[in-house]
Symmetry: C2
Subunit: 101 residues, 2 copies
């Protein structure tokens, strides 16, 4: 899925991960988080692809929207399960999108 | 593949694309471009995943490195073929990575 956004500047959260062997509950939670994120204030769009590495880039109006989504109780629970159970490794990067073409 | 980088700030080029039906030569060119990019001044790392949507995030020291890579003759040729032949749609975003965790 490709996202379509307002003109920059806006923010991107680049989340890259590698899944371990236990995928139990992962897909359902990923879909639920996507649905929740879409309803957050400041959410602009999301793009996602997975092979061995998964990359999800979500786009946000500002850093405050990102902070609020990070602190969302359901999202926190999912983050915790991800860390403990699903992900072999992951990295989160917050970036300011300066141009788009 | 997940990239490992120096501390922010640095830059990310987020390239999202959807392939059309003609993939002829795509894989070879993608691999060649990856090998070339890795040898460019200012290249820091790259992460890539593809389902229907492909996402490639490449990381760079500064905007000048990104400009030089964009103008690289072999890369320009690949970009042109991509536009004309391989991609149904694509978006390029340049973003400044402000934090990583």
């Amino acid at each position: 899925m490709q996202a379509s956004m307002p003109p920059p500047p806006y923010y991107a959260v680049i989340f890259t991960s590698e899944l371990g062997d236990d995928h139990d509950g992962y897909e359902e939670t990923a879909e639920l988080m996507l649905a929740l994120a879409k309803n957050q204030p400041g959410f602009l769009g999301v793009e996602s692809a997975r092979n061995k590495t998964g990359i999800t880039v979500s786009y946000w109006k500002d850093l405050e929207s990102i902070r609020q989504w990070k602190e969302h109780p359901e999202h926190r629970k999912a983050q915790e399960t991800g860390r403990r159970k699903w992900y072999k490794s992951f990295t989160t990067r917050v970036a300011r999108v300066e141009r788009e073409s």
